[in-house]
Symmetry: D2
Subunit: 137 residues, 4 copies
């Protein structure tokens, strides 16, 4: 399993009149968490797209346990629990500043050739970076 940690801060733009971070913004937080996770692995998503591979989302699932509020600094734990092949799944846990679990989520993405818009295998360099985290002890 691969695991990382990313921090985000709730922007005023992202609150709603309930005083909570609007539920639709979590998908953006997931994106930031994925991108920073890949960057920490030495795999900037931007380079991947420049090399012709996109990662559109197939499925997204969210559970809202407690609200995030304006200016809260949220710690997102990101998990890749299986080695990717044509698809890759990210799981997320959101913790507020008191360490309370306030949200969980899961996103399934597919690797796709930019030019043909057809599915393809996980890029070799990503696989190489991830493999060590999935080897048996």
């Amino acid at each position: 399993m691969f695991q990382s940690e990313v921090k985000i801060r709730i922007r005023y733009a992202e609150t709603d009149q309930m005083g909570y971070a609007y539920y639709g913004n979590y998908a953006t937080y997931y994106e930031v968490a994925r991108v920073e996770t890949l960057r920490a692995l030495g795999l900037p998503y931007k380079s991947m797209e420049e090399e012709g591979v996109m990662m559109p989302v197939l499925e997204n699932h969210s559970k809202y346990i407690a609200p995030a509020r304006y200016d809260d600094e949220i710690t997102i734990r990101v998990f890749i629990k299986e080695l990717p092949n044509v698809k890759i799944k990210f799981a997320y846990e959101f913790y507020n500043e008191s360490g309370q679990l306030i949200h969980t989520g899961e996103t399934l993405l597919i690797f796709m050739k930019n030019n043909t818009r057809k599915p393809c295998k996980v890029p070799e360099n990503m696989l190489e970076k991830l493999k060590p985290f999935f080897e048996k002890a």
Copy 2:
């Protein structure tokens, strides 16, 4: 079962550099679909909040089958399949202009008192409006 239909048009602001409607915007489309569905039932969500009942989201699930693109007019079919009690579930099907099913989703919301932020029962007037759609033939 209660069913309705709502149309939205993809804004430029909502596209991303893949040329698709960004996956995080679907939650906003669901919101518009729910609000217009309640309005069609004679239940403006705004009045509900003014009467002290909010509907925060507990769960959200999305499947992306084919992309929506800029300026596409999308028809959203909205379904309430069970009479609500403390929670209410909305299901959505998105169709593009060719009638192709491009997306499905589901949102679970809870009724909550604005002042106490505690769960409460579905407002009586909403229940009354919905009941006829769930009566046996």
Copy 3:
């Protein structure tokens, strides 16, 4: 002068914890107003981009007179006060349901070739559509 009218409704996603439509969303409302204005003229912006002309924004100016609130239906009056050449300027007035002027704005855009990303002249068909509104009586 060319003038048109477009209606939008404030989404929950667009409110902030002040209970107002977040100030950054007005640029999106301007976009919707421009696009629907061009559509009414028989000039879908989407087709323009498909024919290789984009309209990036050079300047944007906003004055917030009174807040727009959740679910408000806003009437946007859109003005093109000069025939465009390489640039085009749109002006906007926002009115709430009581007819109160709550916001004004102005956007300057440039016509640009999609492939070269260099400025170009206003497309001929747009000029043709606009000319009658600028002829002397």
Copy 4:
């Protein structure tokens, strides 16, 4: 004059199909820049709202010189050029990773009592923090 520097990174959610950061997102970047500037001064905006003072926006002005692109890290220089009284003006300069000035902006905000929604003077503690930057040498 008071001056600070804030960094933001362009999110995928914030790009549009032109491949640029959507013009409407700059207002959100300004917000982040203002909030981090106030935090660096020891004045978290959140505390200000909790103490009953809000800062709604009266005017916003933007000039787009060159596009920001996905994943670009942007340095925002924030300027307060005059001591605030009932209003406060922030100016911004955006620089990309090559040090190129790509954008300038200006926002005028008003201090307002949360309960009455009436204008008020700049909070005393903000004035105290800012004063030293405006004293003559």
